[in-house]
């Protein structure tokens, strides 16, 4: 389904803090987003004037939850001036929506698909699990971030500092699961984690869908700024992804 053309003004309908993350709720009557798709978000007022006189461009944010009547939820982590401004938005303040964009996750062939998420990368997997189920394996830096696991049903958690769940990398949880029963893997997280996941799915020869991140200016294929190296050369993450078959990544 194609995205509505142009940017739309919306308002923040809800805001709640989940550990180190903020969940923002808004509505988009014009579109129904699929798991793995994203919007380019900006505050309607005072988008700018932060660190380095930024933000200026919209920020790519994954759809975390799609409800009835166009209700949308996003998961944000303050990592810079753009996400800081979005995290500080108050209910009732204006939000600018452009999207939904991107090629999302496909309907899993297998109900028990492994959903491997790292940090803020868990956001699109919440949408996946709510739509199609799946077994969530989640990695976080510490307990403050691990609070994000509460957005999933029956997640298995790993933390770098061992404060909660398995002490170590989420890929160790993945190893166990794949050893027990090889099956498809959907993943989203930091580049290093995705590389480690891709190494494992290749080793086990299981299908995989990896949601990538890249600096983005437009989100709809206009700027060619968001490319990632694939076996067929550079591809735009915003239109050819963000979800890629792990096998095509160079």
């Amino acid at each position: 389904m194609s995205a509505p053309f142009g940017r739309r003004s919306s308002v923040l309908l809800s805001r709640r803090v989940v550990g180190r993350y903020v969940v923002l709720g808004t509505a988009d009557e014009l579109a129904v987003a699929e798991p793995g798709q994203f919007y380019m978000l900006a505050a309607a007022e005072r988008w700018g004037g932060g660190e380095g006189e930024r933000p200026f461009l919209g920020r790519a944010v994954s759809v975390m939850r799609v409800g009835d009547r166009g209700l949308l939820e996003f998961l944000l982590e303050d990592v810079g001036p753009g996400t800081k401004r979005l995290c500080e938005l108050e209910v009732g303040e204006g939000l600018i929506l452009v999207g939904p964009f991107g090629h999302g996750f496909s309907v899993p062939e297998e109900p028990d698909t492994l959903l491997v998420g790292g940090g803020i990368g868990i956001a699109p997997l919440v949408a996946v699990q709510e739509a199609w189920g799946g077994r969530a394996l989640l990695g976080f830096r510490d307990a403050g971030h691990a609070a994000g696991a509460g957005l999933f049903s029956e997640p298995t958690v790993a933390t770098d500092d061992g404060s909660i769940g398995h002490h170590g990398a989420v890929t160790e949880l993945l190893d166990r699961e794949l050893a027990a029963r090889p099956r498809p893997v959907y993943a989203c997280g930091p580049p290093a984690m995705l590389a480690a996941v891709n190494e494992r799915v290749r080793r086990h020869g299981v299908p995989s869908e990896l949601a990538l991140e890249a600096p983005m200016a437009c989100g709809f294929g206009a700027c060619y700024g968001c490319v990632v190296a694939t076996v067929d050369g550079y591809r735009r993450v915003c239109v050819d992804g963000p979800v890629f078959n792990g096998a095509v990544l160079a």
Binding site: S2, A3, P4, F5, G6, R7, A42, G48, G52, E53, R54, P55, F56, L57, G58, V98, F101, A214, P215, M216, A217, C218, G219, F220, G221, A222, C223, Y224, G225, C226, V227, V228, A229, G233, Y234, R236, V239
Partner: protein, 290 residues
Amino acid sequence: MIEFCGLTLRHRVINASGCFDALAGARVFGDRLFDEFPFAAYVSKTITLAPRDGNPPPRLWESAAGLINSIGLPNRGLGAYLEDDLPALARLTVPLITNVMGSTPAEVGELVAALEDRPQVRAIELNVSCPNVATGLDIGADPQGLEALLEHVRPLSSKPLIVKLTPNTADVAECAAGAEAGGADAVSLINTLRAVALSPGGAAPWLGGGSGGLSGPAIRAIALAQVSAVARRVAIPIVGMGGVGCGRDARELIDVGATLVAVGTECFRDPAAGVRIERELEAAFAQYAG
């Protein structure tokens, strides 16, 4: 209706090359993009003779009220453009302007000649912000070189030739005069200003291409200065661009001498910027008599 180099355009607002991709747009927004095309003409991304991969990522850096890009002119080359893109672009409801770049007059000539028998291509924009292999400077930064380039290319095309000037020069008006003397039908400016960004973590360059080009509101006042300098110098029409984000910005470029206004970086913030800015421009015209 606006008359520009023999083309009749619906209004004065077009896209800046490389900032709006009609084919990707149709994939994302649906085919009705062609029916409700946001610009009065469609300017293609720069096409080169041979295919180019473009620069390694990262290709983008957000700066104060601006964007630095180091895309590296990725394109599938002239052949694929003629075979695949032109047919796909047949659905366009506005005139097509094809932007080309070559590193020598011969290359530019080859590109221009290859478009000659394609009536679909209504005008050609020559991107002369190509580093001269010898000096490393943009070939467009040298007025004499520009005049010579145009003298070589002009006889090869019956189509309007728009020279996309580089702002990285001491005297852009002199460059425009060189292009005019060589037979250009119009000039467009400004292209991006040479800029550098360093990685947050350390002293290394952030952009895969090493350096990049600055665009957006940060450069709008520089664009106003360069467009007004060029307008005072040449008689051919001008496509003004650089940091245009609203109708008033567009109006100001027209005030200093532009005939058309191109929208670049703002398209990234608002895919329908062309429609909005054209509407705001009408209002800006109404608001005060220039």
